[in-house]
């Protein structure tokens, strides 16, 4: 290999090794370190693991986070699908382009500010309850509930899910759907028998990203969900920021990564699995 080729490969490997793999592997190692007198010491002990895995509140958080992220993923997939279907099949190419451009905008507005907006909108004396109050309804408690958390998660994930679903639906060869209709397949059946299987990979990837984003977000469950109970990312923040217990935070992070890895592997297997029998 000549120097030219090496000049493009080596710096990347060194840089990403130092600042991507390095941190991740160090974090895994750190989960076995000890903290004595507020100082971290290199060690290989299972104490942090033993402590975290035997605490009920950790497992409460774990199942709560997993449940909320799954719920959000299901909700986002179902809320987004009709919208994506319209954008893919019922509007012109130009409208679709514009819609996708609009959907990119939220990524460049601060997620914190959007969450703060929801906080004000959903509050007991906020915009929604004021509106409902005028109709002699409510007030409803929406903040510091799982509902608030899901609203926050959806704020983060829904634009991405709509974009990914739209793109995967729009890439379907429409001739196949028309062929099915031509062979006497009713529209609803064509959706399940032809459209969904063809768009499967894209839909699963959209759901996977939605899950990863919700699973790892600490803003929505903290500010809109009131941290009751705290999710795993909130545990990481609290343990790191206030307790100085980085190794314990690392344990939580490794738990999260393991879970995500298993879920991503399953999702990818589902997405690319070939149907063997009809």
């Amino acid at each position: 290999m000549n120097r030219f080729a090496l000049a493009f490969r080596l710096p990347i490997i060194v840089w990403q090794g130092l600042f991507f793999l390095g941190p991740l592997f160090f974090m895994i190692a750190m989960s076995f370190f000890l903290v004595k007198n507020y100082r971290m010491e290199e060690a290989f002990e299972l104490k942090n693991w033993a402590r975290m895995l035997t605490r009920g509140y950790v497992w409460d958080s774990y199942w709560y986070t997993l449940g909320m992220a799954s719920l959000t993923t299901a909700a986002a997939a179902m809320l987004a699908f009709p919208a994506a279907w319209v954008l893919a099949f019922r509007v012109s190419e130009g409208v679709r382009r514009w819609a996708i451009f609009l959907l990119i905008i939220p990524f460049f507005t601060s997620y914190l500010v959007r969450t703060f907006s929801w906080y004000v909108i959903l509050a007991e004396s906020g915009v929604i309850n004021a509106g409902l109050g005028a109709a002699a309804l409510g007030p409803y408690t929406m903040l510091n509930t799982p509902f608030g958390t899901v609203v926050g998660y959806l704020t983060l994930t829904l634009p991405l899910v709509v974009i990914l679903q739209t793109v995967s639906l729009a890439n379907i060869d429409q001739n196949l759907v028309q062929a099915a209709r031509n062979l006497g397949c009713p529209p609803a059946r064509a959706l399940f028998a032809v459209t969904l299987p063809l768009a499967k990979t894209g839909l699963i990837v959209a759901a996977l990203f939605c899950f990863i984003l919700s699973f790892g977000d600490f803003v929505a469950p903290y500010y809109l969900g009131g941290s009751k109970p705290p999710t795993l990312p909130i545990l990481i923040v609290d343990t790191t920021k206030s307790g100085q217990q980085w190794p314990r935070a690392a344990v939580v992070a490794v738990m999260m990564m393991t879970t995500l890895f298993a879920i991503a592997a399953t999702a990818i297997w589902l997405a690319y699995r070939k149907r063997v029998s009809a």
């Binding site: 451009f101 959907l103 507005t109 914190l112 703060f116 990863i212 790892g216 977000d217 990312p233 995500l260």
Partner: protein, 262 residues
């Protein structure tokens, strides 16, 4: 007839999804000009008080300077990393290319909070945390994949003989890179620079963990939000939005339109 009703229902659904997505953005811009400390219906009077406050705030000014420095440096480094990997992927085949590409493409699949903890721990361990450049390093790793993707897409459109044609006409590999590959990729390079800057400008989790005392704008927002209800957040958010969206529009003009055309 029923088909039209179905379409109408679906269009309303689409509209509802858009309203849900844009409600908080519109609300924050509206609230930023609203006099009430805790906005509700009916709205209070128009004011620029929150903007006056943030412009007068020394700490926010400092954070804005930090943010600009971080996002500009990030965009330069991330675009270079992205270009190098995109070009390597385009031009070479080699054993372990899969892991090599994974090394640059994987960071976005790992939750930011985990990256934040890992970066904090590692950078402290090697004695490099709490600096502005700690944020820059972390943000470069996080944003390089986006630069790589944009530049790689552009390289998909190149005539594979173009670079060989330059060698054939007397260019060394370096000269061909500079006089053929880079000019061809220029729109994508500009877009990548804009997008990575915009992402870095908004990122708060990693910045919060590794920044120490050198806060960026999103970190300030996070701290304000933790305290109490303060409409300054809306004003800052609106300004950040304006900055980011300008970068995106530039990226769009330079790249997305051209990819669409080709």
């Amino acid at each position: 007839m029923s088909a039209r009703i179905t379409t109408a229902l679906l269009l309303s659904w689409l509209l509802a999804v858009f309203i849900f997505i844009f409600a908080p953005i519109v609300a924050s811009v509206v609230f930023s000009f609203n006099s009430d400390r805790f906005p509700t219906i009916p709205l209070g009077s128009f004011t620029t008080r929150w903007y006056d406050m943030i412009f007068a705030d020394v700490e926010i000014g400092e954070a804005a300077r930090n943010s600009i420095l971080v996002s500009l440096s990030t965009s330069v480094i991330a675009t270079m990393l992205g270009f190098a990997t995109a070009y390597t992927d385009y031009r070479y085949r080699f054993p372990l290319k899969g892991p090599y590409l994974a090394l640059i493409l994987l960071p976005p699949t790992i939750p930011l909070i985990i990256m934040a903890l890992a970066m904090l721990a590692w950078l402290s361990w090697i004695g490099a945390s709490g600096q502005l450049w700690s944020i820059i390093v972390a943000h470069s790793v996080l944003t390089a994949p986006f630069a790589m993707a944009i530049i790689r897409l552009r390289l998909n459109q190149i005539d594979p003989n173009l670079e060989a044609a330059a060698w054939n006409l007397g260019s060394t590999e370096w000269k061909a890179l500079r006089s053929v590959i880079m000019p061809f990729c220029r729109p994508a390079i500009v877009s990548a620079a804009c997008l990575t800057a915009a992402i870095s400008f908004d990122e708060f989790a990693v910045a919060w963990f590794v920044s120490g005392l050198n806060k960026t704008v999103p970190v300030i927002i996070l701290e304000i939000v933790q305290g109490n209800i303060d409409p300054q957040v809306n004003a800052i958010g609106s300004l950040v939005f304006l900055t980011s969206i300008s970068l995106v529009v530039i990226a769009q003009v330079f790249f997305i339109s051209r990819v669409g055309r080709a």
